[in-house]
């Protein structure tokens, strides 16, 4: 709970209209896409770094947690106020400050929606590639905090590859600038890369300098249907082996296809698996690559292969793809959503392993995601009442499988509060200790986004997945 002194202090910093303590408003800032609820004690809407700095300084002197939040659409609880405190919402800081076409750089506030930035730069013939499935509603600030990826990562990389520099407020209140707005820069430690993906635990981003690319001349979208998930997985490896780097190489299994079909009605035919493939670049190159992709898919057992003929078809396919994660709840009311990554060549082994886990624990596993870079979204669908334990055990097995295949337990969602108990499955104690020392150096009082990444003391219990309001009370 915040004292009245703190409440008045917050009102003085951001103005009464930009901070709220009412039960109703707090409720609306208590969740993210994990659908778990933790109510904050205040929501504050800063308009710039100075206000953020003052809030953080007060948090240090008065001792309350501060949790930065973009659109609240993360999958790992990164923006959840798990220990109460003040939510810093960046919904008011949503201006694109500059698009420098000559140097191909954009400067934006953290609350800008990724899609809005993409639309703005594409009008100028430029391209901001990172495209998490939530791109139409998630913000650049949140994308940076979690180092969001997306389908295009297979060719273009992830958010961190496009952040040249940052303006950030340190947990102790200092406003710093990191990085450059040039193509190169090696002066000092790379604090930019340290902050990107730090899940809002090391600093609060208030401005970002982003790298842009020229917009590819053309894109061809293709759909390949397979009678078996394993065939689709094999085709994925074969495409990469053929020395083609598609701009997108997405996989969906039959459960995902069925769930999303009811929503998007895109006529995704009934198939055991599908690949959604895009190649982009110059027209001539795209034609050659598209033909090669078609050949490889058919050679690897594709029963049907289609090339999207117009923009609406492409739009529908992507609408379906982006809706999968939320639509899966149609299969079962409970969902544990993990985003493991394995080396691309091991995807067929991953598919086999997942089948075993599904059978062993009696839970339904739906897989879809970025096959091209080995980042598969594994969704353990279950009944929340009778299967909660089995689902958690299955999730642990999934992590073990990923790490065993030389992969990682999270490719783009982050650890947050949802996965902190599994941190040591992947990281050695010395590495975790080094990270904790970094956290302490930045945030000696531990006020910024506490309870994330590192497991707290005592036995770790994972919150039940998708625990709605009723369950959390």
């Amino acid at each position: 709970m915040l004292t009245n002194v703190v409440k008045h202090g917050l009102e003085r910093i951001v103005g009464e209209a930009n901070c709220s303590f009412s039960k109703e408003e707090l409720l609306c800032y208590s969740y993210d896409a994990t659908n778990t609820l933790h109510q904050p004690d205040a929501v504050v809407f800063p308009s710039g770094p100075e206000e953020v700095s003052l809030v953080l300084k007060m948090a240090n002197s008065e001792g309350f947690p501060v949790v930065p939040r973009g659109a609240g659409t993360g999958f790992s609880g990164g923006s959840l106020p798990v220990g109460g405190g003040v939510v810093l919402s960046f919904e008011r800081m949503r201006n694109i400050l500059e698009i420098d076409t000559e140097n191909m750089v954009a400067i934006v506030e953290p609350g800008v929606v990724t899609w809005d930035l993409q639309q703005a730069v594409e009008k100028l013939g430029l391209f901001y590639p990172p495209d998490p499935s939530s791109l139409k509603f998630s913000t650049i600030g949140g994308n940076i905090a979690e180092c969001a990826g997306g389908p295009r990562a297979v060719k273009y990389g992830v958010t961190r590859d496009y952040v040249l520099g940052l303006e950030a407020v340190l947990p102790t209140g200092e406003i710093i600038n990191t990085g450059v707005r040039t193509a190169k820069g090696v002066v000092g430690y790379d604090l930019t890369r340290l902050l990107v993906g730090s899940e809002g635990t090391l600093g609060v981003v208030t401005k970002a300098v982003l790298k842009l690319l020229p917009l590819p001349e053309t894109t061809t979208t293709m759909l390949a249907l397979f009678p078996d998930l394993r065939d689709a997985a094999r085709a994925t490896s074969a495409i990469i082996r053929a020395r083609i780097i598609p701009s997108t190489l997405e996989i969906m299994d039959s459960v995902s296809i069925k769930c999303v079909e009811g929503f998007a009605k895109t006529g995704l035919p009934e198939a055991e698996a599908l690949l959604l493939i895009e190649v982009d670049g110059h027209k001539a190159a795209v034609e050659t690559e598209a033909e090669a992709v078609r050949r490889v898919c058919l050679e690897n057992g594709a029963g049907e292969f289609r090339t999207a003929s117009d923009r609406n078809e492409v739009k529908d396919l992507w609408k379906a793809r982006r809706a999968v994660s939320a639509a899966l709840y149609k299969a079962r009311p409970g969902k544990i959503n993990e985003d493991i990554v394995v080396p691309r060549s091991r995807i067929p082994d991953l598919v086999d392993g997942l089948r075993g886990i599904s059978e062993r624990h009696g839970v339904l596993i739906a897989s879809f995601g970025h096959a091209g870079d080995g980042n598969i979204h594994v969704n353990i669908m279950h009944d929340r009442k009778s299967q909660a334990e089995a689902a958690l055990a299955a999730a642990e097995d999934v992590f073990r499988l990923a790490v065993g295949l030389g992969g990682t337990i999270s490719g783009e969602h982050g650890v947050g509060s949802a996965k902190s108990r599994y941190l040591d499955m992947e990281l050695k104690p010395d590495a975790i200790a080094a990270m904790k020392r970094i956290k302490e150096a930045f945030d000696p009082k531990g006020i910024l986004n506490p309870g994330k990444i590192f497991p707290g003391p005592g036995p770790q219990k994972r919150a039940p997945a998708g625990a709605g309001y009723a369950e959390s009370k």
């Binding site: 109703e24 800032y29 139409k136 999303v260 939320a326 639509a327 709840y329 309001y469």
Partner: protein, 424 residues
């Protein structure tokens, strides 16, 4: 219509993914979670479980919604947000009563010949004292700051003679049963408040087009407001009474089909009327029967009457862009028919604007409960209209026409606003 306590399953279907943030017009303008469908569902959820009461903050956020339905259309889990919000509003009115001004208005609108009709006739004579003409035909701007109206707001002038009072329309009342072209249906025309009080020429033109397409038209007496404004504000008692009156008027017309030139009335009669009367199985059955005969003017002309245009374009071409009314595009699934009509217009060329389905900002009573927010949404629309470079923005709903005129006037955009039928 389901009361809130029966919608728990629907509320729980929301998994808080946040997809709706990208489609909601109020989220676009205000940016904050409390102005997003996900936020509103969370608030209604908390209200249903007793976590919060009927507080001012709760009602403010609940009433910020235009009920445009964009969130419902785009929800990956198919959460029926519109029903959740409408039921939550109804429950609030049931417990607290309707806002006085609204409840008086709704009481009047049950009968066009009643108190509101008379009041409006008086207002028509007085409007020159209070308003000045904005620009040719655009509407009236208030001379002073008026209660409920405010200063500088563009108000549509009341018609010289209301549609239902026009002598030729009165004559149509008795024309039921007259034979039409072989195989063409008999059509009853339902005016609705917008056409009746503000834009009778849209009604006259619609009737003319239906006749030109070969059908016999009647304008049944006894028609009341479609009930949608009352439904949106949560005044179900008023909405139900209107639904009952319309059911009787339309049933006794004996027509094969019922046409309307108002997207909202069309949605109201097709979907909401049976929903409002669903408590009584007998009434519900009758309402569904009538509802199945209701057509928007565009689908009636194109699909039922095989209308193929007025023929003959005049050389000069007018660029027309089209605004999809939420109650026609999303609610009735009619996107192509009005566009087809535009293409049939005299010398018209259709040019799409960006995001033609974005709500104009009037809906859900937002124009009354939060005029500023409603105008900010209209401002976004005005920007898209301006960028399209069109000479005319056409739409198919008198409500949208009023709002678009006001929004364009505010933004200083000269584009003309017309009903689709006016182009034919």
């Amino acid at each position: 219509m389901k009361p809130l306590n029966l919608l728990k399953h629907e509320i729980d279907k929301c998994v808080r993914c946040g997809t709706c943030r990208s489609t909601c017009p109020t989220t676009k303008v205000l940016g904050v979670e409390t102005a997003s469908p996900r936020g509103r569902v969370s608030l209604v959820s908390a209200y249903s479980s007793g976590e919060i009461g009927l507080s001012e903050t709760y009602l403010k956020h609940l009433r910020e919604c235009t009920l445009c339905g964009a969130c419902r259309t785009n929800c990956p889990n198919g959460v029926d947000t519109v029903s959740i919000f409408a039921s939550a509003r109804a429950e609030a009115v049931e417990k607290q009563g309707a806002p006085l001004a609204a409840s008086l208005a709704f009481r009047g609108l049950r009968d066009p010949g009643g108190i509101v009709g008379m009041g409006l006739k008086l207002a028509r004579r007085l409007q020159g004292l209070l308003f000045k003409d904005a620009s040719a035909g655009a509407g009236l701007v208030s001379r002073f700051s008026l209660p409920l109206v405010g200063n500088g707001r563009l108000i549509p002038p009341l018609a010289g003679t209301f549609f239902l009072d026009l002598p030729e329309v009165r004559a149509y009342e008795s024309s039921k049963g007259a034979p039409g072209e072989a195989g063409k249906p008999r059509v009853a025309f339902y005016a609705g408040c917008g056409v009746n009080y503000l834009m009778p020429w849209v009604g006259t033109k619609s009737v003319e087009l239906i006749r030109r397409a070969g059908a016999v038209v009647s304008v049944p007496g006894g028609q009341a407001c479609c009930g949608m404004p009352a439904y949106a504000m949560g005044d179900l008692a008023a909405a139900r009474e209107m639904a009952r009156k319309n059911l009787e008027a339309l049933e006794s017309s004996g027509a094969d089909l019922i046409a309307t030139s108002c997207a909202t009335c069309g949605h109201g009669l097709k979907s909401i009327m049976p929903e409002l009367l669903s408590d009584d199985p007998g009434l519900k059955l009758r309402a569904e029967k009538v509802a199945s005969r209701v057509r928007d003017i565009s689908e009636l002309l194109l699909n039922d009457l095989g209308f193929r245009g007025a023929g003959g374009g005049s050389g000069a071409s007018t660029v027309v862009t089209y605004h999809d009314p939420c109650h026609l595009g999303r609610a009735q699934g009619l996107r192509e028919a009005p566009r087809e009509l535009i293409k049939m217009g005299r010398g018209t060329v259709l040019k799409e604007m960006k995001n033609p389905c974005l709500c104009c900002g009037l809906g859900g009573g937002l124009m009354y409960t939060n005029y500023e927010l409603s105008m900010e949404i209209a401002g976004k629309k005005a920007e898209n209209i301006k960028k399209s470079g069109a000479d005319v923005v056409a739409t198919a709903c008198p409500g949208c026409i009023i709002q678009l005129k006001d929004g364009l006037h505010r933004a200083g955009v000269q584009t003309e606003v017309k009903h689709v039928v006016e182009l034919l």
